[in-house]
Amino acid sequence: MALNRDFIGRSYPAPEPYEVSRVKIREFAEAIGDLNPIYLDREAARAAGHPDVVAPPTFPIVFTLTGAGEALADPDFGLNYAMVVHGEQRFEYQRPIYAGDELRHTSTILEIRSVGRNEFVTVKTDVTTLDDELVCTTYNTIVERGGAA
């Protein structure tokens, strides 16, 4: 079943800010096997001029992956999650993410396109501080295998 194009352009602000913790940054850095001391050790981060430990570049996936999840789970959208794989990902960085940050994020369904038998859905997420400073923008393209058949 083709996905419902009416969803293109819809935006979904996260209901509450995501609070970045030192523990979560450590868990993520260890899972990806990237043990840079500024991810793990506050003193090392401070020595490098940062207020606290820094999040690795792909860390924003922790809280942006489920952006627009409400739409993707909506039966009217028509997505079969069992057939979903990740197609493309992009991060654009404006400001580092530090432990202690509280981050807002809003996800928008940017595009839905059919490629062969597959459906591609691109969700853009803007991540900001509570003061509306842009932290990063992520573009997450998922592929529903066989969705366009």
Binding site: K24, E27, F28, E30, A31, I32, G33, D34, N36, I38, Y39, A48, V54, P56, P57, T58, I61, V62, F63, L65, T66, Y81, A82, M83, V84, V85, H86, G87, E88, Q89, R90, F91, E92, Y93, P96, Y139, R145
Partner: protein, 129 residues
């Protein structure tokens, strides 16, 4: 700081995720899609077995760049396409070649492969050097 020229290669990064990695990454990232952690489920939807999270492989591409730049915060942009399926217990090799230099900004073409299987293609990264 190293200076880069078009055509330069960044140091190659090689890493072999162990069999337990997809579950650890799932828990750390919150992406609990069963195609990564449930062998039977993965096979039931036509996959050969549990596959790596694309974002795990992308993290290795990011790391190749942050280590080359000497500072994680030097990375300004990273975009990739996931085109081959990645599997645990196979070595991932990340390569990157400088394709543009403008002032202090370096842009690379980058990819990740397991043997001949190019799991990340058409990657592009930008960092300050």
């Amino acid at each position: 700081m190293a200076s880069y020229q078009v055509g330069d290669s960044l140091p190659e990064l090689r890493v072999t995720p162990d069999a337990g990695l997809p579950r650890r990454y799932a828990e750390a990232s919150g992406d609990m899609n069963p195609i990564h952690i449930d062998e039977e489920f993965a096979k039931s939807v036509g996959l050969p077995g549990c596959i790596l999270h694309g974002l795990y492989s992308m993290a290795q591409v990011a790391r190749a760049h942050t280590e080359a730049a000497g500072d994680p915060l030097a990375l300004k942009r990273l975009a990739v396409q996931f085109r081959g399926m990645g599997f645990p217990e196979q070595e991932i090799r990340v390569t990157a070649t400088v394709k543009a230099v403008e002032g202090d900004r370096v842009v690379t073409a980058t990819e990740a492969a397991q043997g001949d299987n190019r799991i990340i293609r058409n990657g592009e990264a930008e960092f300050t050097a």
